[in-house]
Amino acid sequence: METKNFVITGVGGQGTILASDVLAAVGLAAGYDVKKSDILGLAVRGGAVVGHVRWGERVYSPIVPDGCVDYLLAFEILEGLRWLKQVRPEGTILVNQQEIYPVSAITGGQEYPAKERANKAIKSAVERVLEVPGVEIALEVGNSKVVNVVLLGVLSGLLLVEPEIWESALKERVPSRFVDLNLQAFHKGREFAQQRR
């Protein structure tokens, strides 16, 4: 199999790290060689966060080579735009329809791109784009914090890995009292993808 390259991008606090952990674990459980790389450190203080996950027969580099992203999971629109140039034209982008203004756009005189324009740029860049109302879906199960798992659910609907593998990877990584909530969020996301396939 060709190596599958995923990039997860968002803002510190959105749960991207949990998402890349789960995605990597799912790849390993599905029988692939897996590597994963997260940018931590300064980024956790509300900065931009990015995680690379690669599934393949033999994966050398833990970072996705430039221009080779197959699946971009953008947890936030601006961070999706920032990574757009790295996605293959035949690639897939899931973009959570959330805008988080950085301080530079509040007081620094820089402009946050208009939503319509941003979505248009994303749509014209690749073959398949799913605009995901992640916060709304998360609120349907009762907690806006599970947007990350909603997006994993959407991604699962586009891949051929059994949902049970995703479920057990999730169960191992979220606190026990939040397992049901996260499984619900996952399935809501999965349904969203299946309706749009």
Partner: protein, 595 residues
């Protein structure tokens, strides 16, 4: 069964499996998670020491007592540890001693891009460089065995990309006799006391050991010939080995697990077996220089940069420019017309106690600010732009003292966090007191080492091992250093912070202001949510200059100025009250609870 572990988790696992009994360290990206994970193994004594040098001495003492020991730090932490990094090479060890340093090529979270492989050569210590999580774990075992067999500490150098990447690892059981009692110290001063007359006799031992290690390196199994296409031979170790493999999957490789001392015979054999020899290494030409000094012809830094990570993209681009990789094989970012994207710098969290200090300092425009390492370094960024200098842990107090003795006409303050103060701030404070200095020092006491992920320090009662620690009182310590003018102020009272800074700056002689308030992540948590009364808000932007991520633009604008009014994101707001305090028209209030 294989499990996914990050590089840092794998090092901790290695310490567990290979019988480490004492582990010390000082937090710093990208190394911090090693000790956090070591602490989960109850068989290992784990300690956040006050700084890297103290951590090093602690591990050395434990290894003299016969325990397998490990010490961890980030790249620049090695500079702090350096004084104590050299002597155990002379004294030798009893229990194995492994030193783990995590470098930061690409400078994701460091003030320089130093290549700590140089320290191994400098101190004449063997150096191992793992390439993935499995090797991170295995090399801890290799290093401990080497250490005991060769009577030397062993340095393991990782980089951010291995420490923070995860890959599959095979787990094993722990090998250690944890129930054995520690015997009395086997005293051997001629070996363990590095006084000149005795240490002089140890130096030839060190040189002889290094020569024998270089010979051993030729047959050491972690130095591996991987024959492929003989037209291209690549020498690489660490993260770069996998990056280079990604770009040159068919080439021949000499994969070096030990990068000091180098295996001369093996390198010559490899060079003779390939048409073209490339050395691919991040940062300094550490291998290349030594290989060329052996008289072996190779290429390296004439192709690959000495700056930043050598990611697959950088390797491919550099190789294509040098004509050793066809340009059509180089994939790159696409050319897309996009709008200009705003930067997303890290910011103080909502509820951060540092916000008041930097809001106040940003408005005292004539005050020069000497800064340091920690969350409070974000004071150099918008919207504060308050910090004028930053170079190293604890440096602010010494640099401010330098301003003082140089006689700058400006008013100036040194800012330092509580963790940095314990780490490297006490000595410069004593120095300025003793030498009659006039500096003003602001200690930001947020009760934790925050930037690196909430590790303990001597100013709190918590320790890494979970046992209660004795709290060292900062105010008492400052007074004991001889400072008479000491102020303590609540970080969440913006006016009090401003007034205290003014009062301290007006006085002759040294002053210390302790701005006290817990980091949000260790404090009592959210105190409610605030909201902006949009009718009252005049869109002056004062609250926005606090740089709080919860304060955003409202849709409504001031009709006269056209400027957007303020709104508070109820999900992010934690009710610290600072915005309500600075609002000149009293438009910000707590949201009333509905009973």
């Amino acid at each position: 069964m294989k499990v996914l572990l990050s590089g840092n988790e794998a090092i901790a696992r290695g310490a567990y499996e290979y019988g480490v009994q004492v582990a010390t360290g000082y937090p710093g990206t990208p190394s911090s998670e090693i000790m956090a994970n070591v602490a989960q193994y109850k068989e290992i004594y784990a300690e956040w020491s006050v700084n890297e040098k103290v951590a090093m001495d602690g591990a050395v003492g434990a290894c003299y007592a016969g325990k397998r020991s490990m010490v961890t730090m980030k790249s620049v932490g090695m500079n702090v540890a350096a004084d104590s990094f050299f002597y155990p090479v002379y004294t030798g060890v009893r229990g194995g001693l492994v030193i783990v340093v995590a470098d930061d090529p690409g400078m994701f979270s460091s003030q320089n891009e130093q290549d700590n492989r140089q320290y191994a050569r400098f101190a004449k210590m063997p150096l191992l460089e793992p390439s993935d999580s499995q090797e991170m774990k295995d090399f801890i075992g290799v290093a401990l065995e080497m250490s005991e067999e060769w009577d030397t500490p062993v340095l393991i150098r990782t980089t951010m990309r291995i420490s923070h990447s995860a890959s599959p690892v095979e787990l094993r059981e722990r090998m250690a006799n944890d129930s054995a009692e520690t015997p009395p110290l086997d005293r051997d001063p001629h070996k363990l006391v590095s006084t000149a007359m005795w240490a002089r006799k140890r130096h030839p031992v060190v040189e002889e050991r290094l020569k024998k290690l270089a010979e051993f390196a030729n047959t050491f199994e972690i130095n591996r010939l991987e024959w492929g296409d003989r037209r291209m031979g690549i020498v690489a170790g660490g993260a770069v080995y996998n990056f280079a493999r990604e770009i040159f999957p068919e080439a021949s490789f000499l994969k070096l697990g030990m990068t000091h001392p180098l295996p001369a015979a093996l390198l010559r054999e490899f060079a003779a077996g390939v048409e073209q020899l490339l050395v691919v290494e991040e940062l300094d030409p550490f291998l290349e220089g030594q290989i060329k000094a052996m008289g072996v012809d190779c290429r390296g830094k004439d192709i690959f940069p000495s700056v930043g990570e050598l990611t697959p993209a950088v390797i491919a681009k550099s190789a294509a420019e040098a004509g050793i990789l066809p340009r059509e094989e180089v994939k790159g970012a696409r050319e897309l017309a996009l709008p200009d994207l705003p930067d997303r710098f890290p910011v103080f969290c909502a509820g951060c106690p540092h916000r008041s200090t930097f809001y106040v300092l940003s408005r005292m425009k004539d005050v020069v600010v000497a800064g340091g390492i920690g969350c409070y370094n974000l004071g150099c960024l918008p919207p504060y732009n308050a910090t004028d200098t930053m170079g190293a842990m604890g440096a602010s107090i010494g640099v401010a003292h330098g301003f003082d003795i140089a006689g700058i006409p400006d008013r100036f303050v040194a800012v330092i966090g509580d963790g940095s103060f314990f780490h490297a701030g006490v000595a410069p404070l004593i120095n300025l007191v003793h030498n009659g200095g006039n500096s003003k020092v602001v200690i930001l006491d947020n009760h934790i080492t925050a930037m690196t992920g909430q590790q303990d320090h001597p100013g709190i009662e918590q320790t890494l091992s979970g046992k209660p620690g004795r709290k060292v009182d900062i105010e008492g310590l400052v007074r004991a250093c001889g400072v008479e003018d000491v102020h303590k102020v609540d970080a969440f009272d913006v006016k009090a912070v401003r007034d205290t800074f003014k009062a301290a700056l007006a006085l002759e002689g040294p002053s210390v202001v302790i701005v006290e308030g817990p980091c949000f992540w260790v404090g009592p948590g959210a105190q409610g949510v605030y909201e902006v009364d949009t009718d009252t808000c005049v869109a002056c932007g004062t609250c926005k200059r606090l740089g709080c991520p919860a304060i955003i633009h409202a849709e409504e604008v001031n009709l006269k100025t056209g400027k957007p009014k303020s709104e508070i994101d109820p999900v992010l707001c934690v009710g610290c009250d600072m915005c309500a305090q600075v609002c000149p028209v009293n438009a910000i209030h707590p949201v009333e609870c509905e009973e």
